[in-house]
Symmetry: C2
Subunit: 343 residues, 2 copies
């Protein structure tokens, strides 16, 4: 019986628990910890974990895999508390929305005897909490995997295996690139959404505006309902990335404003038409096809969990992760200026 | 048999047809016209209309109610073409997203023998066309009603009856107020969404960004898939309103930027928390309760359609619309600066 420990039983930690349980792994015990005891009790009751522990150190003892799914700003404290308790070759991962800072904390705080592989599921919804956890939350969603420089190949396989097991799409990426990219596709939409909502909400015409608002406004402001702690922590830990994209969107909005102000109707029409066409094309294409992962023999020693999760459960396998990473970084060097060189 | 004519059989015109048919009115014939003949044929085939006409003038002849559901910029031309064909006491309405300009066209172009009552259903989706029409598109959505100064009381009742019949919430409002308000809750989100999409799409990192983007980005950019003609026409016909709100959102984003840049973390957290709380409260409250409309005798002459639609089909009735309008305008004067005084 191998132990997987989930620390932080909110929407993400809870959904991970449900997704792992849905995979019906044998010989795996899922242990949960949450600093809020009623949450841990709920998690146990909802079947998110097999067992919950009230003491963090005890929860991680003997675990082969530890998943830190707390708010970003709590990750550091958790690492400090668990560092001395982790068994040798333990694989540690997290789910935080920003990665450079988490990778730095892991490198400073975790012992050299364990492997840290950062993770970030690009999934969520605006209703937080374990009571809203879903086994399918990660299905077909990208899941960023950011191995620490000294993470073992086996550890990367364990995390990749978990990601595939829960139905997500592994996306290998460096921490700085990650933070630059998610600032664009995740953090900027969040701030835009909050700003749009607060602007309209604070208008003296709110009684009329709120009565008139329909699905367009509700959809455009959906992310304003994001847990405020998460929004705040994201802005704090990815400040440069968010500022960069806030400046870019200000320019872009300025461009639209200019076209409108100057009555450049044809150009304005073309701009909207291009947006419509490109987005429809993007939507029609669907998510990128999951690259088939070829089978290759598993490491024969030390990686019991990898064997359990990757070897027994999946016929496909993580192939040449190093190569994928290299390729992506090469491409990133050519095309991915947005994700680099800002710091 | 009274005739209702729908001009423009796209998503909105088509959905109106389906919604009216779903009400199973007796003695009403729904006639459709679209300048695109295949669309008109499709509309007939899909049961959106009882009959389609290939000649606009013929389509409106003898109609008691004419609904203009074309793109905004086409409304003027339609009014010019039908003006000479409308029977006495015909009720004309439209569905355009901007109202001041449409009211002006109606006042210039339609004969004094007919009544114009502007309409704007706050409903839609990003898949246009009659093939995406839905009878339930307007259910529980606000539907703005803007009677022309010289519209008869009976005409307002007809349009209000139609709005209630299709399950929408009548919202009486002046044209300038309307344009100011929808600029905030509809047109600004549209431009924001398009700007966010084009910004990210034009990034050299698009291959990575598009692979990483998840439900947050998709939701925040949904309105970028709005029909480009609609987006363009909105900006053109509500330029002042859109410019006003573009300036306001630029300020609001600047405020977020400032808090982030200056490391005002507590204030930033409070701002996000306030947005989350206010939006959750707004969502939890649901749409405003539909004011019950008391019964009152119908006009006894000339308003056959009103009798058919309002009298026979609804037990409740439009009560004191003038009073509602007055109240709203009074409130608008106090609180609704956003919707007025910009022109």
């Amino acid at each position: 019986m191998e132990r997987v420990t989930i620390i932080g039983l909110g929407l993400i930690g809870g959904s991970l628990g449900l997704a792992l349980k849905a995979a019906k792994l044998t010989d795996i015990e899922i242990v949960g910890y949450d600093k809020d005891t009623p949450t841990a009790v709920d998690a146990r009751r909802l079947g998110v974990v097999d067992k919950s522990e009230r003491i963090l150190q005890k929860a991680v003892r003997d675990a082969r895999l530890v998943i830190i799914a707390t708010p970003i700003m709590a990750v550091r404290g958790v690492m400090e508390e668990i560092a001395g308790e982790l068994r040798e070759n333990c694989v540690v991962t997290d789910t935080a929305s920003t990665k450079a800072i988490v990778m730095e904390w892991a490198s400073q705080l975790l012992p050299a005897t364990v492997s840290f592989v950062g993770g970030h599921p690009m999934a969520g919804k605006e209703t937080p909490g374990v009571q809203n956890a879903e086994a399918k939350l990660f299905a077909d969603k990208p899941y960023c995997i950011i191995p620490a420089a000294d993470a073992s190949e086996g550890a990367v396989r364990v995390v990749t295996g978990i990601v595939q097991l829960i139905g997500a799409r592994p996306f290998f990426i460096g921490a700085d690139e990650h933070d630059g990219y998610v600032a664009a596709v995740s953090h900027l939409p969040l701030v835009l959404s909050a700003a749009l909502f607060t602007l309209v909400r604070n208008s003296p015409a709110w009684p009329e505006l709120s009565a008139l608002a329909s699905s367009g406004f509700l959809g455009a402001t959906r992310l304003a309902s994001t847990d405020a702690e998460l929004s705040h922590d994201i802005c704090l830990t990815n400040r440069e990335g968010v500022l960069h994209w806030l400046d870019r969107i200000a320019e872009e909005l300025g461009r639209y404003r200019e076209l409108l102000q100057q009555g450049q109707e044809e150009e304005l029409f073309k701009t909207f038409a291009r947006a419509q066409l490109d987005r429809d094309t993007y939507i029609a294409a669907g998510p990128p096809v999951r690259e088939p992962v070829a089978a290759e023999e598993l490491p024969t020693s030390g990686e019991q969990l990898a064997a359990l999760l990757v070897g027994q459960r999946l016929v496909r396998r993580v192939k040449d992760i190093g190569k994928l990473l290299e390729e992506r970084q090469e491409r990133g060097g050519r095309q991915g200026r947005e994700g680099r060189g800002r710091r």
